[in-house]
Symmetry: C2
Subunit: 223 residues, 2 copies
């Protein structure tokens, strides 16, 4: 079995990605970051889900709070409620987050001899972050294949974004077919220590709408 | 004065880069990583040099030793002596290192409103690492300018590699003209706690040769 690295937060999207990678026959290394995120409960969920899906779980400490600049890493900045009117990139944007995450996934991939990296971004039901778009992923792949010894040695990396053109409802239906227990997953930007969701942030809004459109009972526990 | 982020190890090249960025009029944020590197003395040197050149110094903890795969981050792997016969990428290569470093520099740049990042790579006197080549830097820049909110808002980033076409002697001559005290800098892959150099590794070999070719007395203290 070939190895794959799956960027894995323990949320709805990355859990679906993990199940998909397993389903494609990969031996999965799930990579989570402890980035002084408000939602430490997400990491607990991630551990349980990785175990359920038989993946090796790596938790890499990464204190992005040292830089600040985002509601997700800076406790002085409040997480806003979902705002349907706004077209701006919201304050929950973390500077260069997917670039940092993919870079570390690239390093792990090289160490475990994986040529496949899975990332659960979507450019449909998403918060408008620039580092979720297909053109960004393509540019990262081009860069990655000039960056590493593995690529130079003829083993380029491929970044799989199987959810990129799916809306949240389609992702949920896909995951249900793969036997995911979405009750285990935590998506909320400010979940409490028990992993209960606020129901008001962007991430909660998109998730709730997804279950509703998919005609699947929402298993999320709200505060 | 515009801000710049300078990737800064406290070695010969990155110190020259810092002095150049200052000379160009930038207000510098020097970014160092504590990546369980063997040469913690390099970080001490970095602090002193940043102070001398009036730069803000950020030390970001980044435990690349968790992944392993390199003599620079894995204590179980010995640092080899310089080998003139070999054309291979040496075991001192750290998987995806410059990609990870540049990603974090990109995040810091966005937070401090800097559009300029300085990186002291050279593709002349170097260890053959793929992530030191101009084509890699160009691909990283393309990716970075699709990745961030700043770029989308019309503030793209530029990555300056002023040493890329210089050999070590040319870099040293340039730095001497900028008033650098190279005695403060530590380049050795396995310097001891006092910052004394082994004199045998790739990095020592290239540095020693550089001072010799530049006709500058080598200020390095060897073990």
């Amino acid at each position: 079995m070939a190895n794959a690295v799956v960027l894995f937060s323990g949320g709805l999207d990355s859990t679906t990605c993990l199940a998909l990678a397993k389903d494609k026959g990969f031996d999965c290394h799930a990579l989570s970051f402890n980035y002084s995120q408000r939602h430490a409960s997400e990491l607990k969920a991630a551990q349980a889900i990785a175990a359920r899906h038989d993946a090796k779980h790596h938790i890499f400490p990464l204190d992005l709070g040292l830089f600040g600049g985002s509601a997700l890493t800076d406790n002085a900045v409040a997480v806003p409620d979902y705002d349907a009117e706004s077209n701006d990139i919201p304050i929950t944007y973390v500077p260069a987050r997917n670039t940092i995450f993919l870079s570390l996934a690239l390093a792990l991939a090289e160490v475990v001899d994986a040529q496949d990296i899975f990332l659960g971004v979507s450019a449909v039901d998403y918060s408008g972050y620039p580092d979720c778009r297909p053109e960004y992923i393509e540019a990262f792949t081009n860069m990655a294949n000039l960056a590493t010894k593995s690529a130079i040695d003829g083993h380029p990396v491929k970044i799989h974004t199987p959810l990129v053109h799916l809306n949240k409802a389609e992702t949920i239906r896909l995951g249900m077919g793969l036997g995911i227990d979405y009750a285990q997953t935590v998506s909320c930007y400010q979940a409490d220590v028990q992993g209960r969701a606020c129901g008001a942030c962007d991430s909660c809004f998109l998730r709730k709408k997804g279950f509703s459109e998919a005609n699947v009972a929402d298993p999320t526990v709200y505060i």
